[in-house]
C-alpha cells in the first residue's frame, strides 16, 4: 500500500509539475499586464502540433523543439501581445478576457481544420528504473527534473537579476517603474516571451502522455487556471504549489474514485478555495477600490 501511494505521489507530482509550468505563465501574464488568458491551454497545444509538423519531415525531436520554441516566442509571445492584448487592454480587463476566450475557440478550430480531430502520438521516453517496490519511469523523472529546473531558473532570474527586478517593479507599480527609467514596455514583452517558452516546455512534457489533439487545451487550460487561483493568483510560487496540489489530488482521485470525475477535481478544489481561502495557498489579498 505504501509503495502504491508513493508511486501515485510520484506520478501526481510529475503531472502537477506540468500544470505548474502552465499556471506560472498564466499568473505571470496576469501580474505583468492584467491578462487573464483563457487560451493558455491552447498555447500548449500549438507548439505540440508545430513539433509534430516538423517531425513529419523526418526531422528528430531535438530539431523540432527549437523550431517550436521560435514559433511560440513569435506567435504566442510577440504577435499575441501586439495583435490582441495591446489593442484590447485599453478597453479594460473584461473585454480582453472575452477576447482570449474567442482566441481559444479560433485556435482550436484552426488546429482542427489543419490537423483533423485525430489524437496524434508524441515521442516520449520509455522504460525506467526499478527502485525496490517503486518504479521510476524515465518520462516522469525527466518531466519532474525539467520542470524543477525551469521553475528554479525563472525564480533566480526574477529575484537575482536586474531585468528580473525591473520586471517585478513593473508588475507592482508600472507608473513609478517608468519614472525610474525602466523600459516598462520591454519588461511586459519579456513576461509574454517567458510564458511562450513555458508553454512550449509544457507541450514537450505533456504530449507523450496526453497525445496531441486540437481540443486538449480545454482541460489543460482550465486546470492551469484553477492551479493559479488555488496557489494564489499573484505569486509565482503559488502557481507551483497549486499545480502540484492539483496533479497529486487528480491522480489519487482517478485511482481511488470513479475515473469520470477526474476532470471535476480542479473545479471542486477551486470552489473550496474560493469559498474558504480566496487569496489561495500562498497569495496575498488584493484590494480593489471601486
Amino acid at each position: 500500500m505504501a509503495a502504491l501511494l508513493a508511486q501515485l505521489l510520484l506520478t501526481g507530482l510529475a503531472t502537477g509539475a506540468i500544470y505548474a509550468l502552465v499556471a506560472i505563465g498564466f499568473s505571470l501574464l496576469w501580474q505583468g499586464s492584467q491578462v487573464v488568458n483563457f487560451a493558455q491551454g491552447d498555447f500548449v497545444t500549438l507548439p505540440a502540433f508545430v513539433m509534430l509538423g516538423v517531425m513529419g519531415y523526418g526531422l528528430p525531436l531535438w530539431v523540432a523543439m527549437p523550431v517550436a520554441l521560435l514559433v511560440s516566442l513569435l506567435v504566442l509571445g510577440v504577435l499575441f501581445r501586439r495583435v490582441l492584448v495591446q489593442p484590447m487592454l485599453r478597453h479594460g480587463v473584461m473585454p480582453l478576457v472575452i477576447a482570449t476566450m474567442a482566441l481559444s475557440i479560433f485556435m482550436e478550430n484552426a488546429m482542427k481544420n489543419v490537423a483533423s480531430a485525430e489524437a496524434y502520438p508524441f515521442p516520449g521516453l520509455s522504460g525506467g528504473i526499478d527502485l525496490g517496490p517503486l518504479f521510476l519511469d524515465w518520462q516522469s523523472a525527466v518531466t519532474l527534473l525539467s520542470a524543477v529546473l525551469a521553475v528554479l531558473a525563472l525564480h533566480l532570474f526574477l529575484s537575482r537579476t536586474r531585468t528580473g527586478r525591473a520586471i517585478q517593479a513593473t508588475a507592482q507599480n508600472p507608473a513609478v517603474a517608468r519614472l525610474l527609467g525602466i523600459n516598462v514596455d520591454r519588461m511586459i514583452l519579456i513576461t509574454f516571451l517567458i510564458n511562450a517558452a513555458l508553454v512550449t516546455l509544457a507541450a514537450v512534457l505533456i504530449s507523450p502522455a496526453y497525445l496531441v489533439k486540437f481540443n486538449n487545451g480545454e482541460a489543460i487550460g482550465l486546470t492551469a487556471f484553477c492551479a493559479a487561483i488555488i496557489g494564489g493568483f499573484n505569486q509565482v510560487r503559488g502557481a507551483v504549489a497549486g499545480g502540484l496540489l492539483l496533479g497529486v489530488t487528480e491522480t489519487f482521485a482517478a485511482t481511488f474514485g470513479p475515473d469520470q470525475y477526474r476532470a471535476a477535481v480542479p473545479m471542486v478544489l477551486l470552489i473550496v478555495f474560493v469559498l474558504f481561502r480566496p487569496q489561495g495557498l500562498l497569495g496575498r489579498r488584493e484590494e480593489r477600490r471601486v
Partner: protein
Amino acid sequence: MIGPDAPTVLEARDLVRSFGAVRAVDGISFAVREGEILGVIGPNGSGKSTLFNCLLGQLLPSAGQVLLDGRDVTGMRPAALNRLGVSRTFQLLQVFPQLSVRDNLILAGQEHVGSRIARLFGSPDAGLGAAADRMLGLFRLEALAAEMAASLSYGQQKLLDAAIAFMAGPRLVLLDEPAGGVNPTLLAGFRERLRAMNTEAGATFVVIEHNMEFVMSLCTRVICIAQGKIIANGAPAAVRADPAVIEAYLGD
C-alpha cells in the same frame, strides 16, 4: 548662504496649467539656484502639486517654459529628466511593496549605470550594493534592508521613498510633503539627512510641505502659492511674517 552668483538649476517661466476653466497654475515664475533648499507652501488646492507635475513632465503645461540649466525641458518625459539628474518623491507613497527595502533602492539606480551589455550580464546588484548600503545607513534603514517594503510603517516608507529619490545621485530633488505622517522623532533625523545631502552631496531641493516648523528649519528660501499664483517669495522668516501669506494660508 547661497550667493547670488550661484548658477540657476531650475527655472519656471510664466507656467500655466488649466483644467477646463480652472487655472490651477496661473503664471508662475521662479528660479532655483544650485545648493538652495526652496520651500513651497500654500493652502490645499493652491496648485503646488500641479506645479510639481508640470516641472517634472508628468503634466504638460498649458503655457510657459521649464528650464533646467538654462535648457528648455518643457514637457520632457519624467524618465528623461530623471536621467538628467532630477528626481522626486510623491505625496502618496510610491515604493515597490513586494520588493525588499534594499532591492527598492538598487532598482532606483540601476537604469543609470552600465552599458547595455552590462545590464544584461552584469552583477545582480548592478554594482549598486555599496551605494544602497550607504543610503540605508543615511536614512537609518539598515535593520530593515531585507524586509519587504510593504511591511514598513508609514513613516519608514516615507524615508524609503526619499532614499529612492536620492539613489540615482540626483542634482535636483523635488519632495512632495516629505514630513506628512512621519513621527516627530523620525522627522528630526530626516531633516538632518536632507541637510547632509544638501551640504555634502551638493543636491538642490524643492520641498512642498505643510509642516511650517519643518519648512522654517530646513529651507533657505520659501515661496507661497495661493490660487495658482506666487504671493510671496523670500527668506523663510520674511515669508512667514508676510500679511498676504498669513491671510491666505497661515491664519493668525
